[in-house]
């Protein structure tokens, strides 16, 4: 770990420094939104949103080349497609009573497929794997600005509507009877999930980002007594997982995203087994 800290401050390792900063900044949103996703039980919807992002990335690469407008960057396409996906998937979840999961599964696949078709029509070589599984070498300084802005937005919304979101997640029927526009807050929650997912796509990739959203919160949920505690702990866990994953991948020359997910995943399993043993031991 000391080696890793030294490496971060080495002027030659700018990419490592950027990845660490983004990982730590994004953890805040991941902890807060992940807690809502886990308690409201919508990780499947979050998974669909993150995969639809690939469609947006493909579309923006295609448009960038066709129109020659350089500012159409993949990250902007990712943000826009994530928000559209969140709204569409939200409406499906609210209004399609029959086979809701199948419809969402279809949207999930359509998003991915659209992205690949767009990339097929885009000339030149494009490394899909870097978006699917993350690539910290692609991170630039402008990403930090984007991550910081989205972070502030997500944190502001989730704290400002804390009491209402807690009511919507705990008992949406009752919340509706109190005159709260439950459907609206559900869509807001999905939009925040969409923005959060985009934050770390550069590092952990589309396929695995959902694990980093839910695992820290699931671990925190094992011992948290209040929702805000769960948010706080999952933020910390998310920071720890990203930093350790980064250090691990740097030292042993592994891909960063999978390293982070492996550490998070094994920690979760260990906590689950540990807490089950503890319960048995107490009996």
């Amino acid at each position: 770990m000391i080696e890793f800290v030294q490496a971060i401050f080495n002027p030659d390792n700018q990419f490592l420094r950027l990845a660490a900063i983004i990982g730590i900044l994004a953890s805040l949103s991941f902890g807060i939104v992940g807690t809502y996703v886990v308690t409201r039980r919508i990780s499947y919807l979050a998974g669909a949103i993150s995969h639809c992002v690939f469609g947006g990335i493909g579309a923006s690469l295609y448009l960038q080349q066709k129109t020659g407008i350089l500012w159409i960057k993949p990250m902007y396409g990712a943000v826009i497609s994530a928000l559209i996906a969140a709204i569409v998937i939200g409406f499906v979840s609210l209004h399609v009573k029959e086979r809701e999961d199948t419809v969402i599964g279809a949207l999930w696949a359509i998003g991915m497929a659209a992205g690949i078709l767009f990339i097929d029509r885009t000339a030149g070589y494009f490394d899909m794997a870097s978006y699917l599984f993350g690539d910290i070498l692609l991170i630039s300084y402008s990403d930090i600005t984007l991550v910081a802005c989205l972070d502030i937005l997500v944190v502001f919304i989730s704290l400002f509507f804390y009491n209402k979101l807690i009511a919507v997640c705990f008992d949406h029927e009752f919340a509706r009877l109190r005159g709260i526009n439950v459907d609206f807050y559900f869509i807001v929650l999905l939009c925040m999930t969409a923005l959060t997912v985009v934050l770390l796509i550069r590092i952990v990739g589309i396929v695995m980002v959902i694990a980093l959203l839910t695992i820290p919160s699931a671990i925190a949920g094992q011992f948290s007594k209040r929702l805000w505690q769960m948010m706080l702990f999952s933020t910390l866990f998310c920071m720890v997982f990203s930093c350790f994953g980064l250090a691990f991948s740097y030292k042993y020359r592994f891909s960063t995203g999978p390293s982070i997910i492996i550490i998070a995943g094994f920690s979760y399993l260990a906590v689950l087994i540990g807490s089950n043993l503890l319960k048995k031991f107490k009996k």
Partner: protein, 252 residues
């Protein structure tokens, strides 16, 4: 349409798919009543409650609560769901749950001192003030149900609507619960769905039997010590063995 009626249903039918769950229901409940909705499973009890809450819309007919459409008087209704329908692993305290009753009257960004005071007085009415900082999951079934009543009371309602308040709790807790409801009935109309078909608490004033059609029964006193032994408390028997008129009938 009088304001004196807590609930009025006129020719209401409802179907989830093709078959009617409720058919041509006519029902009137006056204010101050303590009515229990009983009937077999899948007979339409919960559907009736959802219609009264405005969470479902009738296919035909009119539903009026306090003389208006249920959606308009929503904030005057206190609703208590069954605790087993909630996520018990949700990390939340009793106080946080009860405070939800105050949502809708304020912006709800932060709860004020007034909100907290109202929540505490609601908890006082169900004898759970000492548990205000306890976690929901640490409570017994009966206590959970009382927390949800406190949350409904925190809405400062004119009508209290309860969904099976006594399911999943033992006889002793059931008695305590009815004692609380009896006190509350002095100031508000109570309407509850009950899972027992044959027997209801002695405090219940009228019984609404739902099995696709709706019939109102009176309650008549039972003195049998046998039943008392079985149920561990005083109860009233509902006569199911005869045919009633549409309007129901009265004790003679």
């Amino acid at each position: 349409m009088s304001e004196n009626l807590a609930v009025e249903l006129e020719n209401v039918s409802f179907a989830y798919t093709k078959e009617n769950v409720l058919e041509k229901v006519n029902l009137q409940i006056s204010q101050g009543d303590f009515a229990s909705i009983v009937g077999p499973n899948a007979g339409g009890k919960t559907t009736l409650l959802m219609l009264l809450l405005g969470l479902l819309k009738p296919c035909t007919g009119k539903v009026k609560v306090l003389g208006k459409s249920p959606k308009k008087v929503r904030l005057r209704i206190g609703y208590m769901p069954q605790h087993i329908r909630l996520d018990l692993h949700f990390p939340i305290t009793v106080m946080e749950i009860v405070l939800m009753g105050r949502l809708g009257k304020s912006l709800g960004v932060r709860y004020s001192k007034k909100d907290i005071k109202a929540a505490l007085s609601a908890l006082l009415q169900v004898n759970l003030v000492n548990f205000k900082d306890s976690l929901f999951i640490e409570l017994s079934g009966g206590q959970m149900q009382r927390v949800l009543i406190a949350r409904a009371l925190c809405c400062n309602p004119d009508i209290l609507m309860l969904d099976e308040p006594t399911s999943n709790i033992d006889a002793e807790n059931e008695e305590a619960l009815f004692e609380i409801l009896k006190q509350l009935n002095k100031t508000m109309t109570i309407l509850m769905v009950s899972h027992d078909i044959g027997f209801v608490s002695q405090f219940v004033k009228s019984v609404i039997c739902v099995n696709r059609k709706v019939v109102v029964h009176p309650t008549s006193q039972v003195n049998g010590t046998l039943i008392k032994n079985i149920y561990g408390g005083d109860i009233r028997m509902v006569r199911h063995d005869h045919i009633c008129s549409e309007k129901g009938h009265y004790n003679d």
